[in-house]
């Protein structure tokens, strides 16, 4: 996994992450990500085949509560912080039809 990452892959990752990269940024991002991944190759030396992945510090069980009505966030207070509140909802630009 220590192959150097290419700028094409970095550009694709940026698209997935919804980030615009300028050309100069793309070059430096590719360089930096490559250096990091090279450093992170140290774990390639470990035999991990039989090791269980660990996603959380402690075993978690799903937490359920009784379905009783309670206080929720105030709609006006929440929408007051939105960039474009429209008729009690979040306004957004067109979703379909503007991109080729």
């Amino acid at each position: 996994m220590s192959d150097r990452i290419t700028s094409e892959v970095v550009a694709k990752v940026a698209r997935l992450a919804r980030l615009d990269l300028y050309d100069a940024e793309l070059a430096s991002a590719t360089e930096q990500l490559s250096d990091m991944l090279e450093h992170f190759a140290d774990i390639d030396a470990l035999d991990l085949d039989e090791v269980e992945p660990m996603t959380q510090p402690f075993e978690l069980v799903n937490v359920m509560r009784d379905d009783v009505p309670g206080r929720t966030l105030d709609r006006d207070e929440v929408l007051a912080e939105a960039p474009d509140p429209v008729d009690g909802r979040f306004g957004v630009p067109p979703i379909l039809g503007t991109e080729p």
Binding site: M1, L46, P53, P57, P83
Partner: protein, 476 residues
């Protein structure tokens, strides 16, 4: 200048000093030195004085003003305060006012604390120097040409400068312990789940934990006892009651086994290592048994962390899309708006970690990076469990060096990441760890010794920390 919480509470509750006077004294110090230090994103002077007045009224009426009556406390600016701007030191959240309080904020209020301001941090808590703040760095009060550490650098500096009697920070890979070490104050990362994360803006949810910065070990115990405990609104909150800490402070270390990690990764400066060696000697002299242990996975912690934390961050930070709160950069359609907003709103380090995390999680690379990192996390947990079958606590440096000058690590992300070498493993395992000032190293700057303990081992950890403080002559 560095007054303890205990002395303030006792004076305010007895009526010997008013909470308003205590708050004014802290605001006075802020006025004098904050322009140079920049510990805060926001100073809440009017609200703090109003709150202090309420505390005084409670005392005058013979009521119980709470265990933190009149104590000015600063909050890292990634903890939600209802109606009060919470920025995470990011342009993308600039001006945003949360519609609710974090659980820790509610608990501090109920205990009679006075919130004096919101402190600066590396953007979204990603960094080790506060140089990644969108609003400019915080200076180290002990030497303003140097960093205070990070990411909770503002919280550490606020306590070190006497702007607040205590503060809260968050620690995902060392963000409380490293700045505590660099600023010469006490900093604690509690057991994962001990303190509610509700209202802490998420960075890496399986690693994040809130904890205190204080002037001494007993203050840290008192503040942690106040904020810890089950919160039904945080699904990762530990259901059991949090253990009492104050009774442990005078326990001493007789009969305790203190572990020295024989295969600890190299990298600590000699002046720092000398202080850690001296800490072992002091504990042995006080009656502890020093035991050599090995933790082979320790050295792989950095890699595991810098794959897992960015992976979780790339998912958590997907919510900053210009739709519901914060910045929006207008564009012709939603996809273009998302990208324009996120590119303008996030700083370089945050973008870097989102990219790294997205890559580590993406199809074709998941098994090679994120999947492997999770397995290394298991090895780390197993290795620590084996060590804790032989010892009660472990001792390491908190930071590889004393506070470093501005700009020395900004050009090389990996050099900055290495600051976290000794603090990361406790986040991966979920264990508690704390930094205690233990003398000085190069240029007379403070060195922090890190005490590590197993899950919910805080009482023993604090017993050892209190002993180190006595040995260093720092107990009040």
């Amino acid at each position: 200048m560095s007054e303890t919480i205990r002395s303030i509470v006792s004076a305010v509750r007895s009526g010997a000093r008013s909470a308003v006077d205590v708050t004014r004294e802290h605001l006075g110090r802020i006025e004098a030195r904050e322009p140079e230090i920049h510990a805060f994103n926001l100073v809440l002077d009017d609200a703090a004085l109003e709150r202090a007045g309420e505390i005084d009224a409670t005392v005058a009426a013979g009521g119980d003003a709470g265990p933190l009556a009149g104590v000015p406390i600063a909050l890292k600016d990634n903890m939600c305060t209802r109606g009060v701007p919470t920025t995470c030191s990011s342009r993308i959240l600039e001006g945003w006012r949360p519609p609710y309080d974090a659980t820790v904020v509610e608990r501090l209020a109920a205990a009679g604390a006075v919130i004096i301001g919101k402190t600066n941090l590396d953007e979204f808590a990603m960094g080790s120097s506060t140089e990644n703040s969108a609003f400019g760095p915080t200076k180290n009060p002990l030497d303003p040409s140097r960093v205070p550490g990070g990411s909770s650098g503002g919280s550490a500096a606020a306590v070190a400068a006497g702007f607040a009697a205590a503060s809260l920070g968050s620690d995902t890979g060392g963000s409380i312990r490293q700045p505590a070490a660099l600023c010469g104050v006490v900093g604690v990362k509690p057991t994962y789940g001990a303190v509610s994360r509700l209202g802490l803006v998420a960075f890496a949810s399986s690693l994040d934990q809130i904890g205190p910065f204080t002037n001494d070990v007993a203050d840290a115990a008192l503040l942690l006892e106040t904020i810890a405990g089950h919160d039904p609104a945080d699904s990762t909150s530990i259901p059991e009651p949090f253990p009492a800490l104050m009774p442990s402070l005078d326990r001493g270390v007789v009969g305790l086994r203190v572990g020295r990690i024989a295969d600890l990764p190299a990298g600590a400066d000699p002046d720092v290592q000398n202080r850690v060696d001296a800490a072992f000697e002091a504990l042995a002299k006080a009656g502890a048994e020093i035991v050599d242990v090995t933790i082979p996975a320790f050295t792989y912690g950095l890699t595991a962390y810098y794959l897992i934390a960015p992976a979780e961050a790339s998912s958590n930070l997907a919510r900053y899309d210009g739709v519901r709160f914060g910045l929006r950069v207008p564009a012709a359609d939603t996809n273009a708006m998302y990208a324009a907003t996120r590119s303008a709103g996030f700083g370089a380090e945050v973008r870097r970690r989102i990219m790294l995390g997205t890559y580590a999680l993406s199809a074709g690379y998941y098994d090679a990076y994120y999947g492997k990192a999770l397995k290394v996390r298991r090895l780390m947990s197993d290795d620590f469990a084996a060590a804790y079958s032989q010892v009660d606590v472990l001792l390491t440096p908190a930071s590889p060096s004393v506070a470093f000058p501005f700009g020395t690590k900004t050009a090389d992300p990996l050099a900055m990441y290495l600051c976290d070498t000794y603090t990361i493993p406790s986040n991966l395992t979920g264990h508690p760890a704390m930094s205690v000032p233990f003398g000085t190293g190069a240029d007379g700057l403070p060195v922090g010794v890190q005490v590590l303990a197993p899950a919910l081992g805080e009482p023993t950890m604090f017993a050892v920390a209190a002993e180190l403080e006595r040995a260093a002559g720092g107990a009040r």
